[in-house]
């Protein structure tokens, strides 16, 4: 792991009082490799290692730490602070219902996460959530959400055949308001950030219902492309948060760092499995550890 690799780099530094620039460059090359292997975006890695170098240069080797520990400490601190705070909650609108819009690429876990979020908000925040099926394209997408809703005893609002997603969403919000659902979670179709028509569609949904939360659902195994798509979704919709899914796999999850760095939006939850209960709060320190490997 990174500590071992840095240990090798620094094994020749015994007795030195300061880390020289050359020592640091060598150590940072190991950090760069670790982050790239973890799928952190290339440009993000470049910016990150530059920042770490600034801190490490001239840093006195503390009596209590070896040079390896010193660099790892700086890297961990920078990573953790970049990844953000933990337990950033879902916004609650003073004027009910709170509207949450789910967005993301195909297959990232939006439908499953919508159901998980409904369960979480009911159990943890005593909310009365309603799910809205706005994926009118994928075969049996509406049915999928309905089955999940049924399993959790959560109301699922579906539209009429041929109805535009933005209209379904608007009617759903109206229904929720009248039936005292305090939270509306809108599941949407997976879409490419380069698909103008589909991006226009989700923008239309957002403009119509004015969501209090726009959550980007991202697969933890996403590679370098994370920056492209997150930037597009953020610029179009002004994201309010990220949900990282499939963290029960063994992907290092560097996409989390990339997306955090380019959008600045908080990771609100992580998906840890296929069951509705498997939604957990985000822990930046644990994520930092995982990314470094």
């Amino acid at each position: 792991n990174l500590s071992d690799k840095l240990g090798q780099v620094f094994s020749k530094l015994r007795g030195k009082g300061k880390l020289t620039e050359k020592d640091i460059d060598e150590a940072l090359n190991e950090v760069k490799i670790a982050l790239l292997e973890a799928d952190v975006n290339f440009k993000v890695v470049r910016r990150f290692t530059k920042k770490v170098k600034e801190r490490a240069l001239g840093a006195e080797i503390l009596k209590s730490l070896t040079p390896t520990q010193q660099v790892v400490k700086i890297v961990m601190e920078e990573l953790t602070s970049l990844l953000g705070e933990k337990r950033v909650k879902i916004t609650v609108s003073p004027k009910k219902p709170t509207i949450i819009l789910m967005a993301g690429l195909q297959g990232s876990g939006k439908t499953t996460t919508s159901a998980k979020l409904a369960l979480n908000l009911r159990k943890e925040e005593q909310k009365n959530p309603m799910l809205v099926a706005c994926d009118v394209y994928r075969p049996a997408a509406v049915k999928q959400l309905q089955v999940l809703g049924e399993q959790l005893s959560v109301k699922v609002f579906a539209g009429e055949k041929g109805e535009r997603p933005a209209d379904i969403a608007a009617r759903a919000v109206e229904f929720a308001r009248n039936e005292n659902f305090d939270t509306v979670i809108i599941d949407t179709a997976g879409r490419l950030h380069i698909d103008e028509q589909m991006m226009g569609e989700i923008k239309e949904i957002a403009d119509k219902v004015k969501p209090h939360e726009v959550l980007l659902v991202v697969d933890a195994m996403t590679g370098q492309d994370a920056v492209n798509m997150a930037t597009e979704f953020n610029e179009l919709l002004s994201l309010t948060g990220i949900i990282l899914t499939k963290l029960d796999g063994d992907a290092r999850g560097g996409a989390a760092l990339s997306i955090r760095e380019v959008t600045g939006k908080p990771v609100k939850f992580v998906g840890m499995g296929e069951k509705a209960s498997q939604l957990e709060p985000f822990h930046p320190d644990r994520m930092a550890q995982r990314i470094l490997g």
Binding site: L36, Q106, R138, P139, A140, M221, Q224, M229
Partner: protein, 278 residues
């Protein structure tokens, strides 16, 4: 050796950026960069055009053995098993393969082997209807092994040419789920001659280096015969196949380039490389 030619630092940065941002991965990128540095220092590569051409050539060599046509059983039913982690595009790929083989005049049937996920069977039933092929399905929560058994016998009875088996998405790190898949494979191999004739691992082009772990773990429990890389219609380049091809010697048979049944293409390494540098 003073004065031996060196690669221009800025060109090196550009090359690294191009390769890394395509998800080509540290080991492969370093290998290519060292290869280019070496060839520059011994004078073989002189201009930046030479260097870029050598880079493309090197990548091309890596994909040389990496494309192959789908295998069909000349003597009877061809059974295909489609596997992969959650959400990569298995079910949609099954529908696309059905359309592909149907357009080649084959009698195709589908097996709804995902008996677990909400509305997975419904999803495949709708696809079967759209493509115009029969789907063998059971009830949600049923044993996938039993479903595969029934599907193979139904396909044999109906003299189908190709049976495509959709399976539930599963994380390669979940031992119990991988064991279940191994059991499904065993049943298929017992019930039909030479089955499965193809075991296709579906990989999402958006995936980073974890694709290597996926390919390694799936190939550890199943004798994979091919890969399908989906969602190449996005901005992800799918460069992970270089690292995957290095670790698991399985060719890419198809690529997915959209959500419609016709959005499947046989993998052509030359086209893939051109798209990488587009």
């Amino acid at each position: 050796l003073l004065g031996s030619p060196k690669i221009d630092e800025e060109l090196l940065e550009d090359i690294e950026e191009t390769l890394y941002s395509a998800d080509i991965g540290v080991q492969t990128v370093q290998e290519i960069v060292n290869h280019l540095k070496e060839k520059t220092e011994n004078g073989e590569l002189k201009t930046s055009q030479d260097i870029v051409a050598a880079m493309k050539e090197r990548l091309g060599e890596m994909l040389d053995e990496f494309e192959a046509a789908p295998v069909l059983n000349p003597n009877g039913l061809s059974v295909y098993l489609i596997v992969g982690i959650n959400g990569v595009g298995k079910t949609t790929t099954v529908a696309k393969l059905a359309s592909y083989f149907k357009s080649e005049g084959k009698k195709v049937m589908l097996a709804a082997g995902d008996t677990f996920r909400a509305a997975a069977i419904d999803q495949l039933l709708i696809w079967g209807e759209r493509v115009g092929v029969e789907v063998i399905s059971g009830s949600e929560g049923g044993d996938p092994g039993a479903l595969v058994f029934d599907a193979i016998h139904a396909a044999q009875k109906r003299n189908a040419d190709v049976l495509l088996i959709d399976t539930a998405g599963r994380m390669h790190v979940k031992a119990n789920l991988m064991a279940e898949l191994k059991k499904v494979h065993k049943i298929a191999s017992k019930e039909a001659e030479g089955a499965p004739h193809e075991i296709l691992l579906v990989l999402d082009a958006v995936t980073g280096q974890n694709a290597v772990q996926q390919a390694e773990q799936f190939s550890e429990i199943l004798p994979l015969t091919g890969l399908v890389v989906t969602k190449l219609d996005g901005t992800a380049k799918g460069g992970i196949i270089f690292a995957v091809s290095g670790k698991v010697e399985v060719p890419v048979k198809f690529i997915g380039v959209g959500e419609k049944m016709e959005d499947l293409r046989p993998f052509k390494s030359k086209e893939f490389l051109e798209a990488l540098f587009a």
